[in-house]
Symmetry: C2
Amino acid sequence: MASSYVDSSGRSLADYPRPSVAVDTALLTVPEETGQLSVLQVRRHRDPGWALPGTFLHEGERLIDAVQRSLRDKAGVVGTSPRQLHVFDDPRRDTRGWVLSVAHLDVVRPDQLAGRDRARTRLVPVDRPGMLPYQHDEIIERAVSELRRRYASAPDPDHLLAEPFTILQLRRLHQAIAGRPLQPDTFRRKMGLQLTGTGTRTTGTRGKPAELYLRER
Amino acid sequence: MASSYVDSSGRSLADYPRPSVAVDTALLTVPEETGQLSVLQVRRHRDPGWALPGTFLHEGERLIDAVQRSLRDKAGVVGTSPRQLHVFDDPRRDTRGWVLSVAHLDVVRPDQLAGRDRARTRLVPVDRPGMLPYQHDEIIERAVSELRRRYASAPDPDHLLAEPFTILQLRRLHQAIAGRPLQPDTFRRKMGLQLTGTGTRTTGTRGKPAELYLRER
DNA sequence: GTAATAGTGTCTATCAGACATTATAAC
DNA sequence: GTTATAATGTCTGATAGACACTATTAC
């Protein structure tokens, strides 16, 4: 493909102007405390306020590595699986120059955020993200839609629950992501078919003990 | 956001190395002659063979404008609506340097391709795209999946048919995109509800005249 | 026993697939 | 009339929502 880009004037790759490329990430999780789908934000460096974690792409670096580096450096989060969402390409988006930003979605278990720097980061429910610079609110919207689409038909595809888990735990997670209550019986019937029962049950809980399940089918 | 990227060493935006950014497009259409979902390919400049149309992003240019420029210059196609699919970011993908490529999907009516340069371009069914450089086959796969998803539930969302049209015309289009036959009666029931009948009917055709419909609901 | 939660039975509405039937044109 | 296509009727099976009911635990 490269050579097909060389135009009739014979200009080579190095002759073309190049934009800076950044990554920005909507890191979503469901904290135990609130049970609400929330997004990680970090303090901005120069300006007051909060923003999504982001960084510039380093030379020869892959986008996914830049995302993981920014999450490690800015929030102490490791072991994530970012996915691309969209490229924001308005040339006037950044006042300091020509910057393309590749928005990402990442989803983590709350325990993966345990060691985060609480002075420099915060977790905010996705439906009240506060004032954010640039199009970070749009990134959150895209991230939430994508996550809801993923969780609509499959049980916990992003492995937010530690195995084994009960169907109630699974349903609470899916409700947090969907942002609305889900029918207990319908949910059980749809998702239960995609789970493997362990035969063991919870103990010490109120009511009838629930069976514990594994994701693997 | 920009200022939040400045790291603790105080490096500014211009100090970061920058990749070249390209766009590549899977331009899909359904030619009258074959009735098969097909993708536009252009002759490569230096190497033998064919590739998807692409170009480098010009300074301050938006991605969508680069896509439209490449389609105009390489295939004489105008008036399209490209959509982003994915960023290909393997630093070793292009032997001549560090190039990010933003893959796009574009869908056009066959008449929009009437004036194309037939010596430099060809239309190939998407299921037999031939040998393509880099990850252009993957771009086609993503483009087709996305198009099938869009056409699964709505009647001709990308306006490939000139209005008014019959349900048979609509179903043939959807079959070409789905790559499989669709039940006439089920299709009519699902899509018919989302169309507006004009009251007028085809004339001069064999069999019972078909009603003509508009997309608008 | 009561309260609470897990899990199942079952009715209804909706919808896709499949097939039959009716309607209306060209010939 | 015959043939071809459009449009509708209707049966069946699958599934979601809704509600009732049974099962098993803590207390």
